[in-house]
């Protein structure tokens, strides 16, 4: 109880401009893994964490970045609400503000700094990116800054230096700052004078020639990277190379995982007697989990490479390139960050739309964000691309990029339609600060990739495992007694004098029995019931069950399919992908011929198969009708384009 008393608690608020390193400091303080990046707008809401300093509980609030508390923007209003209303309400507790000041673009921090200093709350400052500022030709005089502001100031030359800040000393030294001219909107003269005095006292030029050379290099790079045509082509090339290399590099570790699961499955098969428990273990649990785990290397590699690209500062340039493509469809430039976030998961993407000031722009972005390919779709893409472009990493890379492009194109097309019909009106222009180019940190990118991989694994170990167990039961029961055709085969096998031929007949009888059992099971009955709806996109009853099982969570498709074909097959045929590839339909034709794989791939790119996203849409858009609209629109578009893709591929000569 003593720990939670008011005296033993400190409320720490982290405030600053966008993309100055608040979330990095937050993570360093509370040991969390809030998402950080090298472009502004990642923190859309305040994030709260806590840590203990001795017996004292410290509650840390990481505010979204803003240039002033008085801007007519959601993030500024949120900061204003927290600092002008919430903090004074907690005046019986200890409150202090840590202002994060970026040395690059130093004067841009002054407006917010003055507003924070006028609050009369004890403060401390962390100056970030000082090494980058020196490379750009100026040095921040920390001692002079400390004296001018009247608060303790520490430096974090690089991002990695955040973790070595002596937080205890900084908190102990925090004090109410020297009074500054009260910042009143509309009366900026006194603030401007104060700012120019502060700049003159605290910033010194260093190595001007080197800084000029660097600026020239950055400008030259920017001219190419944000060029309307060259920038767009380069973006496409970068994506093709990235996905191609992910596909190519992951092949070896994927084989290792496959062999490992295959060995465990075989060991259980040989050491356990045939029966329901062995079936559940081998086909349900191992078959299902290996169907997901096998994609771990590709997911790790993809997130590693994306993190490297983000850190270089390239993704912010890509935002500018994308803005030119988004604008004609009525999406604001601010929609880029939410849409980019949706490539990891639509939920943080939808929550990021809080930064979009206009309600119509925001609603349009929420409605189309789930069209962007999230990481849960990756296993389906990898499986289908493997069928469409086997053993050709370059073609596979292009098909992969095509998946992402199709999602993005349908998203902007749908946004254009929504903005013209349901939500008409103009969009606001985009203002985005281009971050400096940086050498990416392999360690940070590795850490992010491992974090994402771990979440993927946890998911495979929980939701997917549970669905696989339930689906295995539904695929195994009720069991079907052997029909006359199977009994005849068995009698013929017993009567045959040739042992080889006898075994072949027995195998045939067993295979027929398993297939009939799977067809007669609850899952089989359900699959055959919905098969007419999904047949036009190329699904038979087995694929229909997998599609249905993945309707609330699309990531279970491959695992479900593995369980289905595992129950219906006599023996696990090597790798889980190979097993699906070699599986047959009831008529003996391949389960996934190329045209059906194409149709299903298009369906999975575009369909709304994520219950939590619908819940968040309903909450953020302010009504269940928007979630229903999203569900109906996305599923209809997915089905129609899936049918079109399959028919087009069949017309082009692919089997389907």
């Amino acid at each position: 109880m003593a720990r939670e008393s008011a005296d033993a608690m400190v409320n720490i608020t982290l405030a600053g401009n966008p993309n100055v390193g608040k979330s990095t400091l937050f993570n360093a303080l509370v040991g969390a893994n809030s998402r950080i990046s090298n472009y502004p707008g990642i923190t859309a809401d305040s994030v709260i964490g806590e840590f203990y300093g001795g017996e004292q509980l410290r509650i840390v609030t990481d505010l979204p970045g803003t240039y002033s508390l008085h801007l007519d923007l959601p993030e500024a209003q949120l900061c204003h609400q927290h600092l002008r209303i919430d903090v004074p309400l907690k005046s019986h507790q200890q409150n202090l503000i840590i202002v994060v000041i970026e040395a690059v673009g130093f004067p841009r921090n002054f407006q917010l700094l003055a507003e924070l200093m006028a609050l009369g709350v004890p403060m401390a400052a962390v100056v970030t990116k000082t090494a980058e500022a020196q490379r750009r030709g100026y040095q921040i005089q920390l001692q002079a800054l400390e004296e001018s502001l009247g608060i303790p100031v520490v430096e974090a030359a690089e991002k990695s230096a955040m973790r070595s800040i002596d937080v205890e000393a900084l908190l102990a030294a925090a004090r109410i700052p020297t009074p500054v001219p009260t910042p009143v909107p509309g009366n900026q003269e006194s603030i401007e004078q104060w700012s120019s005095d502060l700049l003159a006292k605290t910033s010194l030029p260093v190595r001007p020639e080197q800084a000029r050379r660097r600026r020239r290099r950055d400008d030259r790079l920017d001219r190419v990277l944000v060029h309307p045509i060259a920038g767009s082509l380069l973006f496409l090339l970068v994506m093709i190379v990235m996905f191609g290399s992910v596909y190519w590099m992951a092949q070896v570790p994927m084989e290792w995982i496959d062999v490992a699961f295959g060995t465990v499955g075989e060991w259980i098969s040989t050491s356990m007697e045939d029966g329901p428990l062995r079936g559940l273990l081998v086909d349900g649990i191992i078959g299902g989990i290996s169907g997901t785990m096998i994609f771990l290397p590709q997911i790790l590699l993809l997130f590693f490479l994306i993190s490297l690209l983000e850190e270089t500062g390239y993704m912010a340039r890509a935002a500018f390139v994308a803005d030119r493509w988004l604008r004609p469809f009525g999406l604001p430039g601010q929609a880029f960050v939410p849409l980019l976030s949706s490539h990891a998961c639509a939920i943080p993407g939808i929550l990021c739309t809080r930064l979009i000031p206009d309600r119509r722009d925001r609603l349009a972005t929420i409605l189309v964000a789930p069209f962007l390919s999230c990481s849960a779709r990756l296993p389906v893409y990898i499986l289908m691309v493997g069928i469409l472009a086997p053993a050709n990493p370059l073609v596979a890379g292009c098909v992969f990029v095509g998946c992402y492009l199709l999602g993005a194109m349908v998203a902007v097309g749908s946004a254009g339609l929504v903005r013209k019909t349901l939500l008409p009106g103009p969009s606001l222009p985009m203002v985005l600060e281009l971050p400096p180019y940086r050498l990416p940190s392999i360690r940070d990118a590795g850490r992010i990739a491992i974090d994402r991989g771990w979440i993927f694994l946890k998911n495979a170990g929980s939701v997917i495992l549970l669905i696989c167990i339930a689906l295995w039961w539904l695929s195994a029961y009720p069991s079907t007694p052997e029909g006359p055709e199977i009994q005849e085969l068995r009698v013929a096998a017993e009567a045959h004098s040739d042992p080889g031929e006898s075994q072949r007949l027995l195998d045939q009888a067993q295979s027929l029995h398993l297939r009939e059992s799977a067809r007669g099971s609850y899952a089989g009955q359900l699959g055959r019931w919905i098969e007419p709806v999904l047949a036009p996109i190329g699904a038979d009853w087995q694929l229909s069950v997998a599609v249905l099982a993945s309707f609330a969570a699309r990531e279970v498709f491959v695992s479900s399919l593995n369980v289905m074909v595992g129950v219906g097959e006599e023996e696990a045929a090597g790798s889980s992908i190979a097993r699906i590839r070699e599986s047959k339909r009831d008529d003996g034709s391949p389960l996934l011929p190329p045209a059906a794989a194409g149709g299903l791939l298009v369906f999975y790119i575009l369909a709304m198969q994520c219950l939590p996203t619908l819940v968040v849409t309903s909450r953020e858009a302010g009504g269940i009708r928007w979630a229903l609209l999203q569900l109906i629109w996305m599923t209809s578009v997915a089905w129609i384009l899936g049918v079109v893709a399959r028919q087009w591929m069949m017309a082009a000569g692919f089997s389907g």
Partner: protein
């Protein structure tokens, strides 16, 4: 005619496991829908 191997104890074990899986799944999904926070993801995706 379809059948269940009611006399096989293994059948009851796998049925029990399947029922437990469905209950856990429902509880897990309900909890996720309830407490999506701003740093969360849908559970299937790997964003933080």
């Amino acid at each position: 005619m379809n059948e269940f191997p009611l006399s096989d104890p293994q059948f009851w074990w796998v049925t029990l496991l399947a029922v437990a899986a469905v209950v856990l799944l429902i509880l897990k999904r309900v909890r996720k829908s309830d407490d999506q926070d701003q740093n969360g993801s849908c559970g299937g995706c790997s964003s933080k």
